[in-house]
């Protein structure tokens, strides 16, 4: 009888350890603590070019993560990319905030940076951010540099 008791206790410890490991993976390793999906409001923004932006890319304001990219689609009427941003309900930004697409580090992934404007009204669910700046495309910049160099060469 004592034998089975020890066995049962050991199995209990094992199951608890396994659950604790799963819990640790969920809480400490993964992103569950950062944002809850059904907890926030959505705003949209049109970009000329989204570059390497992806769904679930972070949205930041002053470098703080305030939301995620919920959806990216191409608007074939305006010929621009329509990006839906899901922002955390706890953060309020002025209605004339601007959105830009930045790259974290030289080779890092791209994210949306929000810069607050001066309006007193806050962005609400379904609002559109009007001032946007597209992603920098490395090839375009290189092309521009080459073009200006060539132009310099011609004037000499």
């Amino acid at each position: 009888m004592r034998q089975t008791k020890t066995v049962e206790i050991m199995v209990g410890v094992f199951v608890v350890a396994g659950m604790a490991a799963l819990f640790m993976l969920a809480m400490k390793v993964s992103n569950i603590s950062t944002l809850n999906d059904n907890n926030g409001y959505e705003v949209t923004a049109y970009f000329e070019n989204v570059g390497g932006l992806k769904v679930r890319s972070p949205v930041t304001a002053s470098g703080v993560n305030v939301g995620r990219v919920a959806d990216i689609r191409y608007d074939d009427k305006l010929f621009e990319a329509l990006v839906t941003l899901k922002l955390d309900r706890n953060y309020h930004l002025p209605v004339d905030s601007s959105a830009s697409i930045f790259t974290s580090g030289l080779l890092g992934e791209q994210y949306v940076g929000l810069e607050p404007g001066g309006a007193t009204d806050d962005l609400k669910n379904g609002d559109r951010i009007k001032i946007t700046q597209s992603a920098l495309i490395l090839e375009q910049i290189i092309g521009r540099v080459l073009f200006s160099k060539a132009a310099e060469g011609n004037t000499k």
Binding site: M10, V11, F14, A21, L22, M24, V29, S30, S33, R56
Partner: protein, 260 residues
């Protein structure tokens, strides 16, 4: 020539017969699972010998795999000035791949072989037929508890493996190599997704546990009841488990992460 063809045909037939027996056997086990609700003690006993006794090798291997990942990842990442991503490298490789796969391979070697040998020996010493004589179904009484215990234990073992591995990577990365502690955890949390990574890892390990235990109990039950037959069954269990786990891992990875 005809003789050769006949031998080929015989091999093919026996292969498919085994495959069919294995699946019928699985159906019998699944039919025996509800009866275990009345006898949970049988499952707990097996959880002890399958799960608890495998803990040591799982924890030690997980720790060292995580530490090696920390060292190797650091050496590669530091060249790109990205040593702060070490946490991401360690956590993603453990949670997505190494946790489920290595834990399943260890599980096959540690618990699967023991299961096959035990059941094979029960058959060889006619304990299973003895049970049948007493109108006790050996599948309900012997096989089903082991199967259920294995299927429960494997995801837990894989989770423990991954968690311990992440800590191993943390000790080496932060403690030994001086990666910033905050960056280690925050980068990890930013890049590891609960559903895409952690949950898919759990699904993987559940599938592996199911298949590895199925192979082990079937090989034991289907063993030729001699000492040589039991030894063959044990070997086959380890080999087939490893092959099935690695093959399934590719399929599951392609299904889970293929469309990115």
């Amino acid at each position: 020539m005809v003789e050769w063809l006949a031998r080929l045909g015989r091999a093919g037939l026996s292969f498919f017969q085994r495959l069919g027996r294995g699946h019928l056997f699985l159906l019998q086990i699944l039919a025996g699972l509800p009866g275990l609700l009345l006898r949970p003690r049988l499952v707990i006993q097996q959880l002890y010998s399958i799960g608890v006794l495998s803990l040591l090798i799982i924890v030690v291997s997980g720790l060292f795999v995580g530490m090696v990942l920390g060292l190797q990842g650091y050496n590669t990442l530091v060249d790109f000035g990205a040593a702060q991503s070490l946490g991401v490298v360690v956590a993603l490789s453990l949670v997505r791949e190494l946790g489920p796969v290595v834990a399943a391979l260890l599980y096959g070697g540690r618990a699967g072989s023991a299961l096959a040998a035990e059941i094979g020996l029960m058959k060889a010493t006619e304990q299973l037929s003895g049970m049948e004589m007493m109108a006790v179904d050996p599948i309900d009484r012997v096989i089903a508890p082991r199967f259920l215990a294995g299927a429960i234990a494997m995801p837990l073992l894989a989770a423990i493996f991954s968690a311990v591995g992440v800590w191993g990577g943390y000790f080496v990365g932060v403690g030994l190599l001086g990666v910033d502690e905050g960056a280690f955890w925050s980068q990890m949390q930013a890049h590891v997704d609960l559903y895409d990574d952690v949950l898919n890892g759990v699904i993987k390990s559940t599938v592996f546990g199911f298949v590895a235990t199925w192979i082990a109990v079937f090989e034991g039950y289907d063993a030729v009841p001699t000492s040589e037959g039991v030894s063959r069954a044990t070997t086959r269990t380890v080999v087939h488990t490893a092959l099935a786990v690695l093959g399934l891992d590719f399929v599951l990875t392609a299904l889970m992460f293929g469309n990115h």
